[in-house]
Amino acid sequence: MANISQAQKALETRVLEGEGKASIAMRRSAFNNKGLSEPTAALVDKVAKHAFRVTDADIASVRDSGLSEDQVFEIVVCAAIGEATRQYKTAFAALGAAVGKE
């Protein structure tokens, strides 16, 4: 299998730096699960830590706070990719440590 790191970087660059409806700062905050105000912060934290607990009300409250559906779409995508990336990097570092490449 080709190393996916290049394709991961392309995805990350697209969602964080490319054209979007949410600001780049907001997308980056969602990716990092840091620095967002409520109720968006609560939604992003749920997506990162236990997405199966997200409810209709969580999405509705973010929409009601003034974000468009496209902005919610982007924020949720960034939150999911951010958490997956952190887990991937943590595990890769553990693999490096296990085989002596720290």
Partner: protein, 193 residues
């Protein structure tokens, strides 16, 4: 689906494609397809390239093993849609539904090779606890998985850590078994692009 744009916000050509899928398959269009086709340049396109590589690129893990990992990661994330979807693909790839059920019920006792068992257990811990350490990885290496196989498994885990979260956050409709069986046939013949 919790966002109307993901249900109805697609362009004309995509809506025609969905009508064709409904007519040919006699099944509703799966929400995962609606997601990847919505503003595909933002998410569906670049994510599809990663998932295709992770799930269908060259690897010493079989396609069945990788689909099994996807289903197991999904189950660890409590993602009902992805667990059912990728259990169906793993079942079709292995031609053995009992094996898939046994792994999802208890990977410690399922009748599978030790490298796959150890890899699944590590992926389960990573998904549940959001971290693993060098000792966790050493256990997988000791069970006989290679460095490259662990890299490949982490690529599968990455993909399904993204997709499962989106399935649950956007509230994907979970259809009956027939829709997942049809989806499995498609994913085995056409892949993820």
């Amino acid at each position: 689906m919790r966002l109307r744009i993901l249900d109805r916000g697609h362009g004309f050509a995509t809506k025609v494609l969905f009508a064709l899928i409904r007519a040919v398959s006699r099944q509703p269009v799966l929400d995962v397809i609606k997601l990847v086709k919505y503003r595909a340049d933002f998410y569906g396109g670049p994510m599809g390239a990663i998932t295709q590589d992770a799930m269908r690129g060259p690897s010493t893990w079989s396609i069945g093993d990788r689909e099994m990992m996807a289903a197991f990661v999904a189950k660890s994330n409590h993602s009902d849609f992805c667990t059912k979807a990728h259990s169906a693909v793993a079942t079709a790839a292995y031609r053995n539904g009992e094996k898939v059920s046994a792994v999802l019920s208890d990977p410690d006792t399922a009748s599978i090779a030790e490298p796959l068992r150890a890899t699944l257990l590590m992926l389960g811990k990573l998904t549940r606890e959001h971290a693993v350490d060098a000792d966790d990885v050493r256990a997988v290496l000791a069970a006989g998985a290679s460095h490259k196989q662990i890299e490949d498994a982490l690529a599968v885990c990455y993909s399904f850590n993204v997709i499962g979260r989106l399935a649950d956050a956007f509230g994907f409709f979970v259809p009956g078994p027939k829709a997942f069986e049809d989806g499995a046939k498609y994913l085995l013949t056409r892949g993820y692009r």
